[in-house]
Structures are given as structure tokens and as C-alpha cells.
Amino acid sequence: MSKEKPTVYPYIPNSVSTVKNQMLKEVGAKSVEDFFKDIPSKLRLKKNMDLPKPLLSEQSLRRHIEGVLSKNKTCQEYLNFLGAGCWQHYVPAVCDEVNQRGEFLTAYAGEPYDDHGRFQALFEYVSMMGELLEMDVMNVPTYDWLQAAATSIRMASRITGRREVLVSRTISADKLSKIQDYCKPEIEVKLLDYDSKTGQLDLNSLKVKISSKTAAVYFENPSYLGFIEAHGDEISEIAHDYGAISIVGVDPISLGILTPPIEYGADIVCGDLQPLGMHMQFGGGHAGFIATRDEEKYVMEYPSRLFGIAPTSVEGEYGFGDVAYERTSFALREEGKEFVGTAAALWSITAGVYLALMGPQGMREIGESILQRSHYAMLLISKIKGVKCPVFQSTHLKEFVVNFDDTGKTVAEINRTLLRRKIFGGKDLTKEFPELGNSALYCVTEVHAKDDIDRLANALKEAVE
């Protein structure tokens, strides 16, 4: 029987035998088994776990992972026009530089003294988003837009004491699924129709469905399907007429050129931070923000921590801390103020860096750039025979629906053809929005040069022939 040399693990300093033994001796234990003797023997794992053979050297680990990941095709090698909840925007180098810093990367829940930098970075993020949204209160972000929307709705329910929410139909199926699951205990979700020509939320549908039982109306701007909701004012007004809260979901990259939702009556604004400096990461770069006015009844309903600025015992020194730590919810019968935990803080610091780099001019320029490029794309694609683009007669920002009914080809077929040309075509909407027929959701941002768009148009032209 060969005697295995005990492994010393680089990540486990005390795996060195002499140290381990010394410590055992000091603790008065014969072996590590001593520590587990209070675990009933019936529950003890008798065998070794059946896991893959370890790659003990860093070199072999790297080789293995790189090998597996090399099976992926990136959006650098392929031309990407996918959006639908995750978007390709340019990530400034300084954003990556900051969120790679060991301190920010590995901090967690220290005090506002030993983690002062984290608190200040988060306060500044909230402040910059506050300027973008013209709102004074915002959370440390939650997981993503899905959660932000669902929580906004439940906040509205707590504030109004009502159990019904009206939601625009032109939101993603994923978001609707999340909202329905999260609202399950008590809140009923009703859908609002949209105009088939313009995509705009149907105000009549709203007027018919809204009542004194409505806690909130939720719509997105731009819509999931890419167009700008022109009647935000009227939607909010109708909501307010019935004492309901107006919740608007917004893409922050648009706010350099689009007016912040508070201007058209939004009480709660939510959205996703991913466009502000996060790589797509297969859907791993999301963070959901929720913002409101600085009114007690709203502040009290945030499930998350809220950080505020405070003086210290030294003149002129900035300190930070939890605002209204003991928040008395207005809803006593509610199922608590939800929960709070780890979510996506690193991305909010990154978003702060992004906004600091861009500044007001950068945000305007990127909005204009996206608008111009997407319009150019829509123009070229609309010229392709059999293709209807955009499907909706409204102004679009970065995404738009393209219909292929008259080409006799399915979106799946077209996308397969595009794939062969190393292009990721728009998301297939046939299952999600069957009433739109063979349609796809295309996304064009500042990363697409004219040549890229030309290439797409040509490829599509060939694909539908």
C-alpha cells in the first residue's frame, strides 16, 4: 500500500502537516475527527465524494478552463445584434480597472469606518444615478431588472394597501413570469393591451382596467420591444387619478437624450444597470435599481439598505451610514418588507465609474449615437424585400422588431443563415409574442460601426432570398 504524500494546498495555509499537528495538539484534539464527533455517525459521509480529479497546479487548471471556454464563440468574433434584456455596449477600461481592484472585489459588510471607501463609492453611484433620474432616493442595487420591477410593484402595494397591478403587455415573458411568481401571495397581475400599429400602450385598455383596487401601473420606456412610449404623461395621470402609483422601467443608457420618467409622473423608477459599464457575461452583469422621491412613505418601504451622508466628530469629514435603519413599514398586514441580502453591489460601483467617465456630454453623445445607428439599421433593413422594419410605427431607441412573414422564412431559419455568416441575429419572438408572427428583436448600439450594419443588411438580404 503506497503512502500518499499529503497535499499542501496553496489556498489552505494550514494544510502543512507540521502546522496542522501543532494546532491539533494545542487544541487538545487527536485528529480533526474530534471536531465532528457531535455529528451523528449515521449522517457522516462514509465514502469520498465522487468529483473530477483535481487540477492541483494552476497551470493545468488554466489549461482546462481555457479549453472548455474555447468552445464558446464570442461577440468579438461574431457580429452581435441580440438585445432583449442583455445588451452589448462598450465597457471603458477604467471600469474594469476599478472593479478588479482587490479591495472592492473582496470587500463585503465592514463598518462605515473600515469600509469607508465602499460606502462613499456606493453613495456616489446613487448620487450620479440620482442626477440621471432626477430622483433623491435609490437602493443599493438588487439582482436585476426583474427583481427591481417585482419589488417596485410590491412596494406600491404596501404603500397603497391595494392588491392589483396593471402591467404593460410589451414586457418580456421572463419579466412577466418573475413578476407573477413574486406577486403570487396576494397581488393580482393584469395585462394592458397595446396598439398593434404603434406598439404604444393602449390608453383605453388602461382606462377600462384601472380602478380603486389598482396599486400601480407598470410600463417600460423604451419598451422591451424597443419603441419609446410617447404617452407617459397620460399613463401616469390616469394612474394618479385613481390613487395608483406609476412605476416606470427605464434603460439608463437612454437618459442622456430621453427625459427622466419623473418628468412624466413616475413615482417609482426601476431598471437595469448592465448597459453602464458591465460586460454581457452570458447574463451575469445585471443589477436592478429602484428610485423614488425623498418622501417618508416611499423610503420606509425599501427592502434594501439605504446609505446616507453624515458628519463625523472631525470638522469637514464625510461619513456614511444606514438611513432609517429601523424602518416602520406602513403596511402592517403585508408579508414583511421582503428580504435583503447580497445582490450586485460591485456593478453599481462600476456604473458610478461609467457615469463619471461619460459625464453629461458623453451620455448625450452615446444616446445620439445609438439612435442614429439603430435608425440607419432600420432604414437599410426596411429596404429588404419581404421584410417589415420596424414593425411598430413609433420612434425606437436601440431595439426594434423586424417581421419576416412575407419572406416565407422563419426567424430560426434566417438566424441559422446569419450564424453561418458569423452574425447573431435578433431574438426570435415567435413564441413570446405569437401575434407578431415571424418576428425578431434586433439591437443596435454604439458598438456597431456603419460597416457592421451594412454587413447585417447584406446578410439579411441574402438570407431571405
Binding site: 495555509p13 480529479k53 473600515d114 411568481d181 461619513g319
Partner: protein, 525 residues
């Protein structure tokens, strides 16, 4: 010739370091703004495009156009970098300190190789909706990690979708809800039982999912009270959601009995494995009879905490509950990985897409570098470190470890400074702030404080014996100071980035300010 090293040691032991945290007195970023400065430029729109489309800005409905530019800060690039690097220096990440002070958070080493791998374009520059053929690599990682978790936990099926521990607990509560609904008992079964020493999210998430929450208090020895559980179950019991070992570091020796009692009453049992670091390879959820469990990949599995995310809370269930898992699930047919959305009984979406893939990648890489033996070593050393720390800390004046007298702990301990507070009037939080003067973190406890003047420490496997000794020395020094010079401790921190914060404005609606704009407005009133 002077031997500098001699002055750094006393009685053969290193003296306490003369730490001072970085202190930049850094202004708020808006104060650094200079009109006109640019941090980055974006590519100009080509003339050909502009010529083709004309004036598109005017196609935006008038009422939707932004009238005033946002009042963001304007800084040139090096100034943005400088500002944030300074803030980073003022943050005490795990990379920098002996981070045993953030108990229950499992602050272990996040290997840098995993960071680099996660930033490869093959991970960072892929879109979740790409054709499955083009993302077989990442799907393989996700799938294989699920298989790893199955083996680590003894459960049958996993989902990596939830965005952290709390969302995982919520998802499990949602599955419990769906399970009873399918049996037609949703209305009847509306109670979830938990314990006061389980993570507060167990109660909060169960409540969010619409359940009534029944909390059990521990018995005199600090163990979850089995008799109390028996008094709590009824035909209304939907399930049990419990953390084990609990935040006190005590393994519930009756855990199997707990599961049996709840099963007999018709409920499901969910295992909050946030504290799994001490039991990897030692004991599993599956054999204990649990129906659901969850792991925090940013705790046990080494993914970094990121100041509070991004993260993953992986949920595992038995075969029977697999149909309720969030959608899509990842399947492998022997040659290809695919995403299956055809799950009619699924609870639906919990989080966007499939979860935070880069966090899973880091966890996967970590397990791959250790293997089964390595994971067991992690647990064993984490527990050894904890018991070593326990022994040394109990030698300090004024500290005690309530409950489970004479018994070993698993991966953490909740200590109490009750005696020291009685003797000196110094409170636990004050000790923590003085400890920060030596470059370490310190955490008291979740609320409510059952253990008086608490302090929860979790060493994990990542620190050396010498580092643990240093942490003990710091607390010993502060304890002695509390007895001889309490005012110094009460007024701490002295070597930190800032001084004592005045919290009063933060509770006053007329003074609190969560944004710079709100602050400026209220100050000028």
C-alpha cells in the same frame, strides 16, 4: 549594525502592527467636477449614416426629449481613476486583511486565477441568447458544476439561477408553495418553521412568499429545540427552513429528527447551507433527508463578495421537486448541452437568464483545483482553525462562548463580551471599532441579539496559524485596553479612515440624504 527585526518581536512573538488605514479625506466626486472635462470619448457617427437618416433626434416625441442635461460630474480619465483608486484603498477587502471577523460570510481567499479566467472574452463577451451551438463551453461549465453540487449535497437536481442566498431561499419557498398547491393543500399549508439562529433571510423570504413564519427559540444549551418543533408542527405546516450548523457554529445533533417530525406533519424541509464550509465531504443534505437545499457560491465556493454581489445561490432539490425548478434547466444528451424551457410546472423565472455565469465559473474552477480530497481538507482545516481560534480567544479576559459548553464548534463561533461589558462598560461594537485600528474587521451578530454583546468570528481555511494568532492578539490587546483605558476603546476608531460618525441625521427625515443633490438641497434650506 542595527537589526531592525529585533524590534519587531517581543518574547519571540511579533508585536502588534502599527496600522493606519489609508486616509485620503477624499471629496465627493461632484466636488471634483470641472466643466468641460471628458473621461472618455465615443466613436463619432459616420457621415454616411448621418446623411442617410437625417435628423432623427426630432423623431423623439417632444415630451420625451431630455430638456436639461443631467448634472453628472465631469472629470478627465486619470482623475476618475485616481478618485476611485483612493476609495478602493479606503476599503478593507478580504484580499488585504485577516478577514475572520465577518462571521457567517465565509470570507475566504478568492483565487486570482479564477478572476482572470472569468474575464476572458469567452466568458465576458458572450450574450445569453446566442445560439446554443456557440455557447457549449459555458453551458458545459454550468452543467458540470450542477453535477458537482449534486455530489457535494446528495441532492438530485440543481438550479444555478438565483442571484444569491436570499433569492435562493425565496426560490425554495416558492417551490414549497408550488408543491403544496399541486397537492391541493396550498391554503391549508401556510406555515413555515424556522429557528432564531438561522439566517434571518429564512424567515424574511418565507414571509415574502406568503407564508406565516413560526420561529423556534433554542433550548438552554443553544441547540434548536426539538420539543418546540413538535409543538410547532400541525396540519398547517408547509415546511421547515433551517440553517445548519447555525450561526453559533453548533451542529444540530437532532437534525434528522427535525426532518422526520416535519415530514410526518406533511411538510418539506429546506436546508440553508450558507454555513457549509465546515461540512464539505463530512455530511450531506441528501442523507439527512432534506428535500431542498441551497449553497452560497460567493461564500463556501470562493467567489469574491464584490462589496455585496454579484453572487449565486444554487438551489438543489430531490427528484420529486425537480419539475418545480426555475426555467430553463440545462440538459446534456451525451454530446450536446441544451437549455430546456419546456417545464410546465416550473415556478418560472427567479432571475434573468440562467444566473450569474462568471460566479459559477469561479466556483467551478475552485472545486476543480481541489477535488474531493481538497474539499474535505477545506472543511477540516476551516473547523480546525475555528476551534483553535476558540481556544485562544477563551483565554482572553471578559469573553465567553455561550452554549454547547465543552463541545466543539464547526466553522464559526458566536462569542459574548458580556462579562467585559459588565466589568468595564465597553460594548461589543466598540471593541470591534478598536480592532479596526489594527486593520481587521469584526462583526457582532444578526438582529435580534440573543447572545448579549455578541461577536461572530469565522476563520475559514484561508488563514495561517500566525494570522489567527495575530487576530487573537488584537482582541486580547483591546480587551486589556477596555479594562485599563476604556475611554480609548469607546472613542475608537483612531487609526481608521474617518472618525466617529454622528448618526442622528440619518434617522431624521428632514436631514437624511441618500444623494448628493438631496444633501445640497437640505443643507441650503
Amino acid at each position: 549594525m542595527e537589526d531592525i527585526t529585533k524590534k519587531r518581536y517581543a518574547d519571540g512573538k511579533p508585536k502588534l502592527r502599527r496600522f493606519h488605514q489609508a486616509k485620503w479625506d477624499e471629496p465627493i466626486i461632484f466636488e471634483l467636477s470641472n466643466e468641460g472635462e471628458r473621461g472618455i470619448l465615443i466613436p463619432e457617427v459616420e457621415d454616411e449614416i448621418k446623411n442617410e437618416i437625417g435628423d432623427v433626434m426630432s423623431t423623439i416625441p417632444e415630451n420625451m426629449r431630455r430638456k436639461q442635461p443631467p448634472r453628472l460630474a465631469e472629470l478627465s480619465q486619470p482623475r476618475v481613476l485616481r478618485h476611485y483608486l483612493r476609495l478602493s484603498q479606503e476599503t478593507l477587502g478580504t484580499d488585504l486583511n485577516i478577514d475572520v471577523g465577518q462571521g457567517t460570510c465565509t470570507m475566504k481567499y478568492s483565487p486570482k486565477i479564477n478572476e482572470q479566467l472569468a474575464r476572458m472574452p469567452q466568458m465576458a463577451e458572450i450574450h445569453p441568447l446566442q445560439d446554443e451551438e456557440t455557447v457549449q463551453g459555458i453551458l458545459e461549465v454550468l452543467y458540470k458544476f450542477e453535477q458537482i453540487l449534486k455530489e457535494v449535497s446528495g441532492m438530485d437536481q440543481f438550479s444555478l439561477q438565483p442571484g444569491a442566498g436570499s433569492q435562493a431561499i425565496y426560490a425554495n419557498a416558492s417551490i414549497i408553495r408550488a408543491y403544496h398547491k399541486a397537492l391541493g393543500e396550498a391554503n391549508q399549508r401556510n406555515e413555515i418553521i424556522t429557528t432564531i439562529f438561522s439566517h434571518p433571510s429564512n424567515a424574511a423570504c418565507a414571509k415574502t412568499a406568503g407564508f406565516k413564519v413560526i420561529t423556534l427559540y433554542p433550548d438552554e444549551d443553544g441547540y434548536p429545540d426539538l420539543e418546540a418543533l413538535k409543538a410547532a408542527v400541525s396540519e398547517h405546516t408547509a415546511g421547515l427552513m433551517i440553517t445548519n450548523p447555525e450561526d453559533t457554529g453548533i451542529f444540530n445533533p437532532n437534525i434528522e429528527e427535525f426532518v422526520r417530525v416535519v415530514h410526518e406533519a406533511g411538510g418539506l424541509c429546506a436546508y440553508d447551507q450558507a454555513n457549509a464550509n465546515g461540512i464539505l465531504g463530512i455530511t450531506r443534505a441528501g442523507e439527512t433527508g432534506f428535500d431542498l437545499c441551497h449553497f452560497n457560491l460567493h461564500k463556501t465556493f470562493s467567489a469574491p463578495h464584490g462589496c455585496g454581489g454579484p453572487a449565486v445561490g444554487a438551489i438543489g432539490v430531490t427528484k420529486e421537486l425537480g419539475k418545480f425548478l426555475p426555467v430553463p434547466v440545462i440538459e446534456f444528451n451525451g454530446s450536446r448541452y441544451r437549455l430546456n424551457y419546456d417545464r410546465p410546472e416550473s415556478i418560472g423565472k427567479v432571475r434573468s437568464f440562467y444566473g450569474v455565469a462568471p460566479v459559477v465559473l469561479k466556483a467551478y474552477a475552485w472545486v476543480m483545483s481541489l477535488g474531493a480530497k481538497g474539499l474535505k481538507e477545506v472543511a477540516e482545516i476551516a473547523v480546525l482553525n475555528n476551534n483553535y481560534l476558540l481556544k485562544k480567544l477563551l483565554e482572553i479576559r471578559g469573553v465567553s462562548a455561550p452554549y454547547a459548553k465543552g463541545k466543539r464548534r464547526i466553522e464559526q463561533v458566536r462569542y459574548s463580551w458580556e462579562k467585559l461589558t459588565k466589568d468595564t462598560g465597553v460594548h461589543s461594537e466598540e471593541i470591534g471599532l478598536r480592532a479596526a485600528d489594527f486593520g481587521v474587521h469584526y462583526w457582532t451578530s444578526h438582529h435580534p441579539w440573543i447572545v448579549p454583546e455578541p461577536c461572530t468570528l469565522e476563520p475559514t481555511e484561508s488563514y495561517s496559524k500566525g494570522e489567527l494568532d495575530e487576530y487573537v492578539e488584537i482582541l486580547r490587546y483591546v480587551s486589556e485596553e477596555a479594562y485599563t483605558n476604556p475611554e480609548l476603546v469607546k472613542n475608537a476608531p483612531h487609526n481608521s479612515t474617518i472618525h466617529k460618525i454622528d448618526h442622528a441625521p440619518l434617522d431624521d427625515p428632514s436631514q437624511w440624504a441618500m444623494t448628493w443633490r438631496a444633501y445640497r438641497e437640505k443643507v441650503h434650506k
